[in-house]
């Protein structure tokens, strides 16, 4: 088995140089971001590597909780940035991502699929939160755009005596579906187009492909659960802000 270290990581910078050279030849204005992204990912991942090493070795549960909390805050902030309503994006992100990720994680603990050990909790929470974050961001963005663009449809429904939920039902369903599209596409093509990250990591680390596949199946179902919950909650909370208690569209 190949031993991976800093040397191999540095050597792989050749690939970055190749990408930057191609971008420069084609005059794509991304050179600066590519360099920043390379440095940033290196520093972030090394820092996370040390932090995880420390948490795994300490076996303190509160450190696991702290790590999950930090992931959740960053995920909620990032998703909230996609909010076009300009109020409460972070709150929606925190509640929807938190519910989607933590309920899924809790169920997995309750069903004894995983234990509270840091080596399970942190990587799985990371996967759940990042996928839920993307779902929440897409749903938020879609709702902001669709509600503003479909004022006539909404007000026609309100004028027919519909309440805010009924008046926005079609747009809600479309936005939630948009939030889920990435995980649905992933589940359709998993293993056929690309081997997913967790599975790839396990195989690279020397685990048997069959064991890696079983873990990946659990991860896929887990992601579907978290993403669905997050999209549904994001959609509901995001739409509600466009209406007041008098069933008036204020968007």
């Amino acid at each position: 088995m190949i031993e991976l270290g800093y040397y191999q990581a540095l050597i792989s910078l050749i690939l970055v140089a190749l990408a930057i050279a191609l971008a420069r030849i084609k005059q794509i204005p991304a050179e600066k971001n590519m360099i920043i992204g390379t440095i940033r990912s290196f520093v972030q991942l090394i820092a996370v590597g040390y932090a995880l090493e420390f948490i795994f070795n300490s076996e303190e549960f509160w450190l696991v909780v702290l790590a999950v909390f930090v992931m959740l805050v960053v995920g909620a902030y990032t998703a909230g940035q996609q909010d076009r309503h300009n109020t409460g994006g972070f709150r929606i992100g925190a509640i929807s991502i938190g519910t989607g990720a933590l309920v899924t994680l809790g169920l997995m603990l309750a069903l004894e699929i995983i234990t509270t050990e840091a080596r399970y909790m942190i990587p799985l929470a990371g996967m759940l939160i990042s996928n839920a974050m993307n779902a929440s961001a897409v749903t938020l963005d879609r709702i902001g755009a669709d509600l503003k663009a479909n004022r006539l449809e909404i007000e026609t429904a309100l004028s027919l005596g519909k309440n805010w939920r009924e008046a926005s039902r079609r747009l809600y369903r479309n936005a939630v579906k948009a939030g889920m599209i990435s995980i649905l596409n992933y589940m359709k093509t998993v293993g056929l187009v690309a081997l997913p990250g967790a599975m790839t990591g396990m195989i690279l680390a020397g685990a048997s492909p069959l064991k890696a596949v079983l873990i990946q199946i659990i991860v896929s179902y887990m992601l579907l659960s978290a993403v669905t919950m997050t999209s549904l909650i994001t959609g509901e909370m995001a739409i509600r802000r466009f209406f007041n208690d008098a069933e008036q569209f204020t968007g």
């Binding site: 006539l152 449809e153 007000e155 026609t156 429904a157 309100l158 004028s159 027919l160 005596g161 519909k162 309440n163 007041n244 008098a246 069933e247 008036q248 569209f249």
Partner: protein
Amino acid sequence: MSCGNVVILETRDVKRIVKKGDVELTTVDGISYTFRTGRIYNLVGPSGAGKTSFLRLLNRLDEPAGGDILYREKSIMEYKPTELRTKIAMLFQEPFLFQGTVRDNLNICCPDKEIKNMDFHLERVGLKVTMADKDVAGLSVGEKQRVALARALFQEPEVILLDEPTSALDPTSARKIEQLIVKLSRELCLTSIVVTHNPDQAKRLGGETLLLVEGRLVESGETQQVLNEPATDLGRRYIGNDLS
């Protein structure tokens, strides 16, 4: 149907203020008026006079900043908005129909209420009975407006608010809609409040006319009186096309 000419809707010193950034705009400025059953009321005035803003307050699509609106002698604030809007229906300038057939659209307001006589509902707005199962995507704007009207009437409202209902139509279709409004107001004892930028249309519709300028009610009364012999300087300027 006997139409009692009783008070159905009353506005008392109604105001609407809209915030645009740091600026507050008064779009409706203290309008008081009484609307009776079975009558047609035209809201006329230059662009930005507050006609649509006033109309949207009547079924509580927007909230007034002051004053009160009474429906059947009770403040509209005391009704559930969803219930109020089935009694005070609204038709928009551009008709919006939900995906599906004409029948689906009529059913949308009240899914539990079976449409026993689809022919009747279509014929009374001048649509052919064969259109019931037609996809709304293939309808002309005039037909769409009629379906929207049939859909609004299906809820059996007592008041219908029409925001420039003919502005997207050709003159022939517009005339037909005007005739329909007159006929339905009479037959159903329906109070119709119509926003129009066209004084000639208001004359054809008859009833009463309210002239609004800069959010204020500057003149009102029988349509022929208001539009042929305005009593105020602003009224004369409006008729003389001197108000932008």
